[in-house]
């Protein structure tokens, strides 16, 4: 199996270290070759595209170029914001040769044609058989798979599965023994990057998401976006102010859930770093 490059971005090294740790740990358990690309830079998420179009394209273009020049055909981008920026940049550069040339002049290198993978796509492509084989510890919980916005939109750029009712995470959690619930807020907004600037708004928006999930019987929320995670987890006190009754449902990354199902300890996948405590017996059906 050919090595897949890993672009962690800032989140996986900082506020969402456990996501990065769980991606690497899961890859190790499943024997999926994965290697962090060298000399990577910021993807420009949340601010660059609001400031300068060129900057918002040049930053991701350099990352794509590095991955290609370091010999990777595929690049795993676990952070949803990074994924979105890289996909968007690649989409625009592919569509416009003149623009591509200009950006290549700015970064002083060719962009190349590396294929960008989200965690969902990476797992669906390489991990399904391995998970079935390594699964030793089914986590029999009712969970809500929460996709947020960046991994499924915009339609023209992200050509994923059913955009309003995606199924990838739902199918993956089934492999871990969990039961995905059918709910309405899969792709609603959590408040995204407004966590610091407008925490109260995040509290309201994320509360609507959590309310629907818990109302329909979900015991945990499964995500694969650092922003969704930090909003639903770190901002829980703000969320609970807007809930009918406070929720203690933990928020797990898909890689953490699958990792634990494949025998990794909660510590190995970094569950202990969360604000809302995870206790398997608290979420699993008796």
């Amino acid at each position: 199996m050919e090595k897949v490059g890993l672009y962690p971005g800032c989140s996986l090294k900082g506020s969402s270290r456990e996501y990065g740790e769980s991606v690497v740990a899961l890859a190790r358990v499943l024997n999926l070759p994965l290697e962090e690309i060298k000399d990577w830079n910021c993807c420009g998420a949340s601010s660059a595209h609001a400031v300068s179009k060129e900057l918002s394209l040049a930053l991701p273009a350099r990352i794509l170029s590095l991955a290609a020049s370091q010999g990777y055909k595929e690049l795993l981008v676990p952070c949803a914001a990074c994924f979105s920026r890289l996909k968007t940049a690649q989409h625009h550069l592919k569509a416009d040769d003149t623009l591509c040339k200009k950006i290549e002049d700015i970064i002083g290198a060719e962009v190349g044609g590396v294929k960008i993978l989200s965690v969902m796509e990476w797992l669906e492509k390489y991990a399904i058989d391995a998970i079935k084989e390594k699964m030793t510890h089914p986590i029999k919980a009712r969970v809500a798979c929460y996709y947020g916005c960046l991994l499924v939109r915009p339609t023209g750029v992200i050509k994923g599965d059913r955009v309003e009712d995606p199924q990838s995470l739902d199918n993956l959690v089934k492999l871990a023994g969990a039961t995905p619930i059918d709910w309405a807020f899969k792709t609603e907004c959590c408040g995204g990057g407004m966590s610091i600037a407008a925490t109260e708004t995040v509290g309201k928006l994320s509360a609507a998401v959590l309310e629907d999930a818990t109302h329909r019987g979900a015991k945990a929320i499964i995500v694969d976006c650092p922003m969704c995670h930090s909003n639903l987890d770190m901002r829980r006190p703000y969320i609970n102010k807007n809930m009918e009754s406070p929720s203690a449902a933990p928020v797990l990354y898909i890689t953490q859930l699958l990792g634990m199902a494949c025998g990794l300890t909660p510590d190995e996948v970094g569950v202990g770093r969360h604000f809302v405590n995870y206790k398997e017996e608290a979420i699993c059906q008796k």
């Binding site: 059913r162 309003e164 009712d165 309405a184």
Partner: protein
């Protein structure tokens, strides 16, 4: 030496904007054989044609080249002008300097040069042209109407009333189409059944109309005035001659839970069924997919109870052929299903229905006898939301077009709801209200002002179920983009009008064009709205694009007039662009060696072998002979002929060669 006239048209700015027409005319004058060369703003106009006619008469021209738009557009116009000036019309050629030049290139020297090259090619061709005469073919004065909805009914009645025979083919067991399913119709709220069913009966009883229901057109061969249609009469397992329509079989049928197509899958029917009480013919059909006998080999209860012995389980499909002179395609449309709308629940919520389903709920003959009740639990919805443009005008859904009828029927639905549920609240989410039409806007205003329907300008982002309610999340763009959330009991999606399943297949069988949405294409969007590009095949109704009843009826009558005009002549004139096998005096007779290769490769079976005999009746030579009535001028035989004995009139090898060499400036 030839005397050719070249006439360069500016087509206003269309050609003149990019091509230097004056220069083309000046340069063309220098081509050997060109007697006169001139340009004019609009050559197709009366003064333009007069220029051509006068030049022919005054200069004694023996060939004309008009450099203008596509020959599809005005070749016939200019040929007619030439004929009026006593020049054989086939001595007139069109150099297409619009579609092939001015429209596709930038203004400049090269563009003008290309236009001149195109003129040069046609000048060389016209020098080799031979005078031709039109071919006369007989007309079969019988029309085939495909589809028995309101379009087909109207077209069939109009043609039949003009005194011609009509074959009406409907694929369902009854005629009536979608109009029979509607409750009331906008903008007058008259009952659809009341105005349609008398016409259905009239069709069935008309002496000039032969009605085949539960039948489909399998294939169509031939050409204008002379088509042969193959029609499959699907075995309905009931002998229509013997059946009296007493209904014993349908009451006794043990399979009672088949979703009724007529009720838009909301009510139930039996396996042997009549779609609706007003069906024409009002006689049952056995649905083989659900019938117990066809599934298990046992039952035959209907046969036992039938007092006239009309049940025929083992009768096979029958294929018949009909000779017809014209075809009117009226195959209608369908509505997109709710399952297409991910954001509105992928069809999972029973109380999210289509507009067509709402029609059945509101109809007195529907599953609830006209009471508005929720499909999920049968309760009367107290709050109802209508979503217009569900899938229409939405490029992301692959349908950027407007379905045209939804604004009006949504206003009607909301109105009917308010008339039936007095304490109910209704909401309509819309993008724009498109109510162009006689008394249409007044109708919408009435819904808003008199019946109190709440119109909200904005889109609905999502519909989801929560505790038995449908939560409709949308936006009110007239209130500064304020978010709106409505807890509704029922949601009606005005889903897009789409082409019928099988439309593409039918178009290919009939050899007519269709667009990327599988709607059939008219020959010209403005001036030939009911014609197709295939002569003798006409269109009417929503198979072209979504249409309301008045437009459909108007189009159907329009198509019927075209058919009547076609049938008003005993013979048709056809373009002489057909292949001919050369003939020469004895002792050669023809260079054809009689290999008969062309007979097999002709796609239209137009070629036969003919014996040339002497006076004593002895066969001297056998040569190929082409029936000009059947030949479509495709040229396959010309390319295939090993002895180069076949030529296409109007596009002979010599003419094409001269033309090509002119393009190469040799």
């Amino acid at each position: 030496m030839s005397k050719i006239g070249v006439f360069v048209c500016h087509c206003g700015e269309n050609i003149g904007g990019t091509v230097d027409c004056e220069k083309v005319a000046q340069e063309a004058a220098k081509i050997p054989g060109v007697e006169v060369s001139t340009d004019y703003k609009y050559m197709c106009s009366d003064p333009g044609q007069t220029i051509i006619k006068n030049a022919i008469k005054e200069k004694g021209l023996d060939g004309v080249v008009v450099a203008a738009c596509s020959p599809r557009m005005h070749e016939s116009t200019f040929r007619a002008a030439c004929a009026e000036a006593c020049l054989n019309p086939y001595m007139c050629e069109i150099a297409n300097i619009r579609e092939h030049c001015s429209w596709v290139h930038e203004k400049g020297e090269a563009t003008t040069q290309k236009a001149l090259d195109l003129v040069r090619m046609q000048v060389e061709k016209v020098k080799k042209d031979l005078p031709l005469s039109t071919i006369k073919v007989p007309v079969t004065k019988k029309a085939l109407v495909i589809g028995g909805g309101i379009a087909g009914i109207q077209a069939a009645l109009d043609i039949a009333n003009a005194g011609h025979k009509v074959i009406l083919v409907e694929k369902e067991p009854s005629i009536g189409g979608h109009m029979a399913q509607l409750s009331e119709t906008f903008p007058t709220l008259d009952c659809s059944q009341c105005i349609l069913t008398p016409r259905m009966v009239e069709v069935a009883q008309h002496p000039n109309i032969t009605l085949y229901t539960y039948a489909e057109v399998e294939g169509l061969e031939g050409f204008i005035g002379n088509f042969t249609a193959r029609i499959r009469l699907k075995a309905r397992s009931v002998d229509l001659e013997k059946c009296t329509g007493c209904g014993m079989c349908t009451t006794k049928c043990p399979t009672k839970k088949v979703p009724s197509e007529f009720n838009a899958l909301m009510g139930l029917r039996t396996a042997i069924y009549v779609p609706s009480p007003q069906s024409v013919p009002n006689k049952p059909t056995i649905d083989k997919e659900h019938c117990v006998y066809y599934k298990t080999g046992k039952c035959k209860l209907c046969e036992k109870v039938c007092p006239t012995g009309a049940i025929t389980f083992d009768a096979p499909d029958e294929i018949i052929t009909e000779e017809v002179g014209a075809v009117v395609v009226c195959t209608g449309f369908d509505v997109a299903p709710t399952s297409e709308f991910s954001e509105y629940g992928y069809g999972r919520y029973k109380d999210v229905i289509t507009g067509l389903q709402f029609e059945r709920l509101a109809s007195a003959s529907g599953p609830t006898m006209g009471e508005i009740r929720r499909p999920s639990d049968g309760t009367v919805p107290k709050k109802i939301v209508f979503i217009a443009c569900a899938g229409s005008r939405d490029a992301a859904k692959g349908r950027p077009y407007c379905s045209k009828i939804c604004c009006m029927y949504t206003a009607k639905h909301a109105m009917l709801y308010q008339h039936k549920v007095h304490d109910g609240e209704s909401y309509v989410f819309y993008m724009d209200i498109r109510a162009g039409g006689k008394n249409y806007d007044e109708f919408v205003r009435r819904a808003i002002e008199e019946d109190g329907v709440n119109y909200i300008r904005g889109r609905v982002a999502r519909v989801y179920e929560r505790d038995g309610k449908l939560i409709v999340k949308g936006v009110d763009t007239l209130l500064g983009g304020e978010q709106v959330e409505i807890e509704a009991d029922m949601v009606v999606l005005a889903t897009a009008g789409v082409a019928n399943k099988g439309a593409e297949d039918l178009a290919q069988k009939l050899h007519i064009s269709y667009d990327k949405y599988n709607f059939f294409a008219e020959a010209h969007p403005k001036l030939k709205p009911v014609e197709t590009n295939t002569a003798g095949i006409f269109l009417a109704g929503a198979c072209q694009s979504p249409k309301d009843i008045p437009d459909t009826v108007a189009a159907a009558s329009g198509a019927a007039v075209k058919v009547a005009a076609l049938f008003s002549k005993d013979q048709l004139l056809r373009e002489p662009v057909v292949a001919v096998v050369n003939r020469m005096p004895p002792p050669v007779f023809s260079t054809c060696v009689g290999c008969s290769l062309c007979v097999d490769i002709c796609p239209y079976s137009a070629i036969t072998m003919e014996n040339i005999k002497d006076r004593a009746g002895n066969v001297i030579k056998t040569v190929a002979s082409i029936n000009p009535g059947l030949c479509q001028g495709c040229g396959t035989c010309v390319a295939f002929c090993r002895s180069k004995s076949i030529d296409l009139q109007g596009f002979s090898n010599e003419e094409m060669y001269s033309s090509v060499m002119a393009a190469l400036h040799e």
